[in-house]
Each structure stands twice: as C-alpha cells, then as structure tokens.
Symmetry: C2
Subunit: 408 residues, 2 copies
C-alpha cells in the first residue's frame, strides 16, 4: 500500500502564498467594502480636519493674551460671540475671545482654546484663570492627515476605523480585491442531504456542507453549494469542471472512503495544470488533505471526518481565502491563555490541534481537552477552541501554560 506523502503545515501555507495570487480589483461603495483588502494605495484628497478645530468647550484666544494668568490674576478678554457648529468663525482681534464648542472651528486670530472650566463670565467679559500655550486644545488643519499624504496602503484591511477614515475624506467608492467565491461539493455515496428526515442503514447526513458554507461566509467569501457528487468518476469530473469555471476556490468534502479520495485526486489532476501540490499534511486531525492548483485556481480536498474537515478549512481554507482576497503579510493569531488541566501526548513530527474547553480555574482559565475521534462533531461543539502542539513536541504536561485559539 502506498504511503501518504505528507507536507508540513507551514510549508502548505507557504505553497498557498507562492502559488496563488490576489483576485482582480473591483470598485465597491464604501458601505459594502468592509472586510475587503485595498487593491491600491489611497492618498488624502484633502486635509483632515480642514480647519483648526477645538477639542474642548471653551473660548478661542490668542495664547499670548493669557500669558501670566493664574488663580489670583485672571486674564481679561472681551467675548465677541459664539461660533455656531458647522458655521465659519468670525475673526478675533487681540484681547478678544470667542465661545467655541467641542469640534467647532477656531476663528482667525485665535491659536488656542481656554477650557470653560478655567473661566468666569461677567457680561461680555471672560476671565481666564489659567494661561494656555499656542496650539493647546486645538487639532490643527491637516493634523490627522495632510492633503496628498498616504491615508491607507494596498493590502490594508477595511475595518470600522478605515471606513470612518475614508468617509471623513469624502471617499464613497473604493478599489478592493474581489472577494473570493468558494464552491463546495460533498462526496460519498453514504451521504444524503441533511434535511432527509429518516435515514436508511449505512446512510449519513451531509453535515459538512452547511457547516463549511457558514465558515466560508464567516471568512468573508461567497459560498455556493453544488450538492453531493456520486462515487462515479465521469460525473464527478464533469460537475467539478463546470463548478470550477464559476468559483475562485473549489472544495470537496464529505467522502471518507479511499475510493472517494481517489476520485478527488484524479479529478484534481484532470481539472488543470499543474494539478496536485499537496497529498497529505502532517497535522492531526486532518492528515488526508489534498491541495491542487488547477489552471491557477486552488482546489482543496478535505478529509471526510467532520472535525478534520472543519479544522483543515479553518486553517488552510482561511489561508487560501485571505490570499485570494489580497491580505497583506501581517497575520495575527489572537489566543486565550490557560493552564492545561492534564497531560496530553502527541506524536513527534506531527502538528496536533487539540480541542479544549476553557473553564474558570483558581487563577485564570483551565484548558480541558475534549477527547473524541475526529468524526465526532459533539467534541468540537463542546470545545471553545483548539490548542496547537507543534511538531517538535511530544506532548504537553498538566499545569503548562498554553495558548488557545478560540473558535467563534
């Protein structure tokens, strides 16, 4: 029997980065561009803010008019009025001041703001019991961004702050890499649609399809389901070929038998050049994973066991989606730290993903492994996340501090 040639998980991530490219650019209205990656640099078309703005409620002054003022010796200023929000400010002369609200425009002649708390008003006269420095309590024109400055660079993810930043510049349309579309097939004659109420002996509901479709959408991709492929090679290949023209990433999942795996591998070789790149990954759960490049498009063959399929798609499906979506280099992996509740053994040379529940402990959290075979979805639904035992380790000991990647 042929041994499976396995590739190291980090090597697989490297292959994904090297062999596949971000999708073409498209222009989206800003409201629909959240979660996308910029396909171009964006330069500020104007200053932000475009006028000197107060950061406090108080009086706009020439700072030098307050020099020397203090508790006992207030500076006396003539108040010439109020700057209405959204209105231009009338200029002030030396010795004068003007009421400005937070966010309001500073008048010409003023270079600082006295906070209202530091003043006392009698008629039109304002006493300031503090001196202010030039620029105090003011955001200057162009201080956040100067006209022509790079506001955001290519590959930057559009999160809420970026959407706000672009909106403040009046940018309503934005060029981003097109979001990838993922096509899914389930494989295996034992599978029936999950809505089937009554199963015959030997049948299993196709639980991977709805779970993977949700995961792909969570990752920002479009997701299309092609149904359950029969274990007949010709139909398998034809339906795959047709779907591949419609999507950016094709995924097979569900068949756990060697027969189905063989069809998947043969299909990958026929769908386009150069074909199979990865025939197995040194990871647990999820070793029997296939990855191909079929005419420039990635094709992923997930292992049949539900937990393995989800684990692999979460790691490598995500990496492919992010690569196609145009994610820049930086990738952060937030974790929750916890104390391992018991020893776990692991085979050296294989990266282990151990499902764990996080439970309150004397100090912080305890990571309690949820054991069960990789076919068992219940174990994954009981787990809050996974902890990774690197290939070079032969296990982890009770009491060790571990980092848990939370599934959400």
């Amino acid at each position: 029997m042929k041994l499976m040639r396995v590739t190291d998980p980090d090597q697989v991530l490297k292959i994904i980065k090297e062999r596949f490219n971000p999708l073409e650019s498209e222009t989206l209205v800003l409201e629909n561009a959240g979660g996308c990656y910029l396909s171009d640099n964006i330069y500020a078309p104007e200053n932000i803010p475009d006028f000197n703005r107060s950061t406090v409620d108080g009086y706009a002054v020439a700072a030098k008019d307050t020099f020397g003022a203090g508790e006992g010796i207030p500076a006396m200023l003539e108040c010439i009025g109020e700057v209405l929000m959204g209105e231009p400010a009338p200029p002030i002369s030396p010795g004068q001041c003007c009421l400005v609200h937070t966010g309001g425009m500073l008048p010409e002649g003023a270079d600082a703001m006295i906070m209202v708390e530091d003043t006392e008003v009698t008629g039109t006269m304002v006493q300031s019991f503090r001196q202010v420095a030039p620029g105090e309590n003011v955001i200057h024109r162009g201080e956040d961004l100067k006209k022509g400055d790079p506001a955001l660079t290519k590959g930057h993810l559009l999160r809420a702050p970026e959407i706000g930043l672009l909106a403040s510049l009046g940018i309503t349309d934005v060029a981003v890499h097109r979001r990838p579309k993922v096509g899914f097939f389930s494989t295996g004659d034992e599978l029936v649609d999950y809505s089937r109420p009554k199963l015959e002996p030997g049948q299993i509901r196709d639980s991977n399809a709805p779970a993977l479709l949700y995961l792909a959408r969570q990752l920002g991709a479009g997701a299309e389901y092609g149904g359950i492929l029969p274990d007949r090679f010709k139909a398998f290949l034809e339906q795959s070929r047709s779907m591949l023209t419609e999507v950016d990433l094709l995924v097979f999942s569900g068949g756990s038998s060697v027969g189905t795996r063989d069809y998947t591998a043969r299909t990958m070789q026929e769908l386009g050049q150069p074909g199979l790149l990865v025939e197995g990954i040194s990871i647990q759960p999820g070793k029997p994973t296939l990855l191909a490049n079929c005419g420039g498009k990635p094709v992923l063959g997930l292992p049949g066991h539900p937990v393995s399929a989800l684990n692999i798609f979460k790691i490598f499906g995500r990496a492919i989606i992010n690569r196609l979506a145009g994610q820049a280099e930086k990738q952060l992996k937030p974790t929750v730290r916890a104390t391992l509740s018991r020893n776990i053994s692991s085979r050296s040379g294989r990266t282990d993903y151990v499902r764990v529940k996080l439970e309150p402990a004397a100090e912080g959290l305890a990571a309690v492994p949820v054991f069960g075979r990789s076919g068992m979805l219940r174990t994954l639904s009981e787990a809050d996340g996974v902890l990774i035992i690197p290939a070079e380790k032969e296990g982890l000991g009770a009491g060790e501090l571990v980092e848990v990647e939370v599934w959400n």
Copy 2:
C-alpha cells in the same frame, strides 16, 4: 460647572447584564442561524451515528477471530464481500470478514475493523497480521450522541461545528434569540453626510455613521441609519422616539459639543423609564458616554470623537448586542502577546485603552503605541489593536509583556 459622575467599566458591563434581557425567540432555518444563540436546549432526536461505523479502510471482523494473530502467525478469514457506502451491511459469521470503507457500516457479527495495511489478500481469503480488540477502529451507534441526550444547551452560540452537529441530526429549523436591530443617529450641526464632496468652513463629514453601521453588522446585529439629527430639541426627541419603536438598541453618535450631549441626555430621560443609568465611564478614550434604559430598551450615547465612539461601541455596544442576542455567561477575550516598546503613563482610577501597532521584534512581537488625539481616525487605522491599562495601574514600562486585543 457640574462634574461628570463616572461609572467603572466593569460596573457598566454589570448594569448591561442586569438591566437588559435577551430578545424573544424565533425559529430560523439552520443555514441562516449561524452566529445566533440558542433560546432552548436541543435534545438528540436520534443516535449519532445511527449504526456502528468504521473509522478506517479495512475488514470488519469479530475481534476474537484475530486473537493471537501477529507478524508470523496471521489469522485467516474468509471475505464474503464488500459493504457499499450508504448500503446496509450483510451479516458475517465466525471466521468471516467483509471489506468496509471508512465511514461504512459494520455488518452484524463484526465488532472491530482490521486496517487494510495489516492484511494480505489471496483470492477470497484475508490474512490479518495483527490482532484487534473489540471496538477497535469503530465508532459505535450513539457514541457521538445518544438519542434523547442534550445535544446543545440554551445560550450556546451556533458556530460551524454546531451547524454541522444539528445537520447531522437532521434538524433543519432551530429556535434562537432574535438578532438585535440597532438604530443609529448622528448628532451635531457641524456634520454633513460623508458623501458631500465639498465642505464649507466649520463642517465635518459624518464618518461615524458608516463605521458604526459596519461594526454593528460585524457583531451580528441588523443596523439602520436614521440620518443626522439637528441640534433642535423637539425634532431630536420626535425622531428618536419614532426610531426607538423600530429597533432594539438606539445609538446616538457624532455630536461632540456640550449642547448635543445635553439634548441626548434630555432625550434619554423623556424616551422612557427609568431613563439614564450611566452619565460617564472611567475610561479613556470614551469618558463622556451615556447609557439609558428607556422602557426596557437600551439607548447609548457615544462620545463625538470618532476613536472614542468606536472604542466605546466595540466594548459596550458589543456587550449590549451580545446580551440582547442571548449570549450565555462565558465570554472569552483572545489577545496577542507582545513586548511593549516604550513607557506609557496612565492616570490611576481610569481604564486606558491604548492603540498599538504590532511589529516583528527580536523575539515575537513588539507593541508600539500609536499616539494621537481621540479625534484622529488615522491613529486607529494604523493600530492593529488596543492594550488595556487597568484602573489600578499608573502606566506600563518598556519591555513589559502586554496583551493586545486585535481589531478586525
């Protein structure tokens, strides 16, 4: 001048939990229920799996027929055929075996699987070079879930594994707490719609609205935008009252002047009992935050500065949305660990959220603070996340290990 009465951030989270309740239940089709929280326990309507299933490719046997077998002394078994995927398996008699693929059904009379790697086939005879124990390489009927067992409990988040688990049980509809709908108003006469190409002096584009709408949708809520409210109390109140009937959480944002803040506070008092709960939070950025309970519905008044508004909505808007959505107790906060690049001071008694960039360092990552005033969105778009300086600390030192909450 009246001092702002501030509430501790943890106390605000406690108030949110105590004063507001999960929304009513609704039934969704499984494909649309991802990200929702269950409003009821779900019990398994059948066994998973519903038959004894092989976890390997190999031969189904009665384990006792292999006892004593080894490298030199194979057990001899008569192979009576193959179990086709999705088909019921014919029974076997003592001394017999049957080819079963991974995921296939074990025949009656078999209680274990010999892996194909451990066998040699000659005609209809199979030699096993290993002995197997009863149950080896088999998932038993009901092993993942037994009929009647609790599959998932009330308050559980439906992630990909849960969707897979429910699909495997044939559950197509699921009772969840209704997803909250958030209504947003921007406030302040200085604001104009962000699509306005040319600003007049003193005007500012409303950048908070699109950023907050995206954030709310990211958090799984529906989001509706009511436009920019004028700084005129009657219109302010009437439009707010009308929107509040349509949504589960009402949010005011954008106005940074004391006048707007006063309108917001007065509106909260008039919209419903008991009214204002929080008049300020001991947090930076975001201190001038208002929170009210208006006839059972939460109303949140965000500070006007964009960074403050996003910071507050990310913490307390999220807490409110999750509470209304029915999230159970457990809340995990994944972070990235990094070494602080320089000293940061912080005022004791106030929780500080410091924006940081994460950069590769000699060992791991460095957290580099991005300084700037809370009006400056650029500082937030340059930051990968925030690190929290608790109220009891007066700062953090260069070289300290810190935990950074990543913004995505």
